[in-house]
Assembly symmetry: C3
Homo-oligomer: 353 residues x 3
Amino acid sequence: MGTRLGELIERFGGQLQGSADIEVEAIAPLDRAGPSDISFLSNSKLRPLAANSHAAALILSPGDEPEVAATYEGARIVTANPYAYFARAAQYFAQWVEAERWPAPEPGIHPAAAVHDSAHVDPTARIGPWVTVEAAAVIKAGAVIDAGCYIGREAVIGEGTHLFANVTFHARCIIGARGIIHSGAVIGGDGFGFAVDSGAYIKIPQTGRVVIGDDVDIGSNTTVDRGALDDTVIEDGVKLDNQIQIGHNCHIGAHTAMAGCVGVAGSARIGKHCTFGGAAMINGHIEIVDNVHVTAATMVPNSITEPGRYTGYFPVARNADWERVAVLVRNLSTMREKVRALEKAVKALTAEK
Amino acid sequence: MGTRLGELIERFGGQLQGSADIEVEAIAPLDRAGPSDISFLSNSKLRPLAANSHAAALILSPGDEPEVAATYEGARIVTANPYAYFARAAQYFAQWVEAERWPAPEPGIHPAAAVHDSAHVDPTARIGPWVTVEAAAVIKAGAVIDAGCYIGREAVIGEGTHLFANVTFHARCIIGARGIIHSGAVIGGDGFGFAVDSGAYIKIPQTGRVVIGDDVDIGSNTTVDRGALDDTVIEDGVKLDNQIQIGHNCHIGAHTAMAGCVGVAGSARIGKHCTFGGAAMINGHIEIVDNVHVTAATMVPNSITEPGRYTGYFPVARNADWERVAVLVRNLSTMREKVRALEKAVKALTAEK
Amino acid sequence: MGTRLGELIERFGGQLQGSADIEVEAIAPLDRAGPSDISFLSNSKLRPLAANSHAAALILSPGDEPEVAATYEGARIVTANPYAYFARAAQYFAQWVEAERWPAPEPGIHPAAAVHDSAHVDPTARIGPWVTVEAAAVIKAGAVIDAGCYIGREAVIGEGTHLFANVTFHARCIIGARGIIHSGAVIGGDGFGFAVDSGAYIKIPQTGRVVIGDDVDIGSNTTVDRGALDDTVIEDGVKLDNQIQIGHNCHIGAHTAMAGCVGVAGSARIGKHCTFGGAAMINGHIEIVDNVHVTAATMVPNSITEPGRYTGYFPVARNADWERVAVLVRNLSTMREKVRALEKAVKALTAEK
């Protein structure tokens, strides 16, 4: 029933201290791991916990190994990045647990799916009930389209990409391989573009697409609008949490991650390896370079041209204190005037001496 | 066609001043209530309006009763909490109006629903068209699952709980009795958890559940993520408005209410009887004690250990004024330096005398 | 295959400088337009680009025409509002491209739609698969209801209005003509209304409707709650972007536009021709007059009684700088005390002279 440590080493690398034949059945946190579990140490502050762990094996770094090994008697997998090793091993165990509990679902198209004759669904793909696949759409090998999803005309779902139930993926949009789109997400709705005429809005048709790379995750109820004339682009490895809004013609660089409730207005261009805390708001038509980290609840009105961490939210306080501070903030001009008057008076007094 | 006041008293309590045989047909606000309506006084400032009301009957508090009764000639239901009484009576009238207009829908499974053989649907539950119920899911007595909902494997929907159209409720998640989940909500999508390896993200499988208590309301398009290893927990009586995001492993205490667009990052632990104004943002891995009230648009980065009201948003102003204030805020260090220099100069002048 | 300029003039007006028989096949931006394209100049700063354009024809204003015509040799359509002209022409070209690529879909009800016998669907309307239309609902001429939508009892969808896939439109709500509702939007979910009794919430039934005028666009995953007793009202020409939340009993005036992630709390009354930047938050029970423009990420706690632009967000800075500023903001009372002390000391020093 268990997995040999040797098999983990073969799959994910690492140096084994101990027997390759030890079997583990699950992955568990340090404080809960028992003799059939493997655990991991990714934070050196927790060394004492690791040293006393009951786990059959530990994943840990070369730097932590000597101290832990002094008292811990189980096997060790030594690797430069124990947290990434844990993530990969946890994926492996999760699939294994799933397979134990449920037979692997059959590939194929559920009889209660509306798939257009001209759509191309790979025979290894799986399409659930109440799914619509419009004309000329392409569902590639191993893709999974769960119940209630809508795939528009000429859309392309890449190899092994998984759309959870009730995703809407509009016409001509593309997602690459190994992606995940969570329930309720809407990809390729119209961007928000209007001309004003005599105070009323005239819709500008949104004829661009959304083009999404490989290994992209999109969270529940997140929305990514299609471009106006050009495309909205999400590069490889981008991770978007839930309830995010990406406006038309945005360009999100590879391996950038955004936490829940972030908003990015149209035509913003965001670099690679950036991170955005929850509810950060990015103005339209600005550029943010690579390796920028924006704190939660921060509004970014202008381009950011230097890497680094940026923050801008009002400090929280007890309501009464905040009210006092808010009045002082509003009246900062008055305080500045007083300081200027004082400077003048003190200068006069000093000169008179 | 009407309801006797006596029947209201039997159902909801209160002391009746007047005849139990008076019949009322609807509930209406003070200023619009007519001779076939019952109205309510929950705000003592509106006593004059109540005193002159045309309603057949009024719900009011013992404190308001004497003054109102001096001129108002209709019946009175006297109760300590007239607003709660109104809410209950309004529920009663709404169900009654509904029943008048439409025959009660039959329980049972719509022929166009995909219910797995191993799922257990109570015969008194009702399942609409285009619904999917996966293997081993349990739909308890009196539950209502409207059109287009998705219920994952081994999920549990409690007694009398109502899922409006197009809700997604993922595998192994649980909701208790008398809950309401509004359209577009997604319960149990994957939490946002990744390890970083060479600048790319490795997904950490999210194997926990969402466990929701009794009497919980969840608003339209709100998302609650499943836990990573442990569960995300929503206790009894919690009320979540629309477009809220609850991260993985959060714990929301009983009878806490959140207004629209609130975001709660992962592993936050929030107490009981708290309230959060719209778009309040709660950092991850923090703790908020019971009876904390956070104002709208406030970012909470750290734990709150004392009950009370907390606020933190920048005061709005005309744009030109805000721009001036924003510059002064940015340059507060300069102002502080000037004040320090002045203090030094004044001290010197004073000493010289 | 192309469109004669004469036909554009007939449809959309404007003064033609050049031959009505010139044919154009597409609309393109100035820098990309070629000899089969028409382009437009809506920003006078781009005059040099226009003057050197390769487009077959240009749409431009009377003010820009003379300078551009000095070197540009193509045809010109002169109109007071080139951007609005572009929008209308682009709509025309987009429909034309669509018609070229795909046969016009047939009107009628997809066999896999659950339409109640008492619903009235105009024969020119189109209803996709997995759609539910409940009793007594009305779908007017030319309306399009895409896959997976839910239309509640007695709801009314106006002439030519288009609901994209997976929209939820609840009972008794109404939308007028030529509207667009994007995927995942939820119209008419219950408002967030509760009475408190002994610390628990009692639901107040939400028996009002959502009443939406003509020419209204509603973005992906936007939510508009039904009224409590009265209706929530969205007037003609309102444009709502994605992920917006409109609370119960709000009233949004005609031709007001809101960018993504805006939140409007219950019973707010917003005027005509207002604009709201992304994630602006509007408090409940307040009033905002016509022609108010609120900047992104701004919280509006109180009524706004004068037109103009209003702003209120904390200026972003490098994190270390922000931390210093945040401390100074928190301690503004101390700084004010120091300034007061200095004023007193300087006054004393001055008096002593």
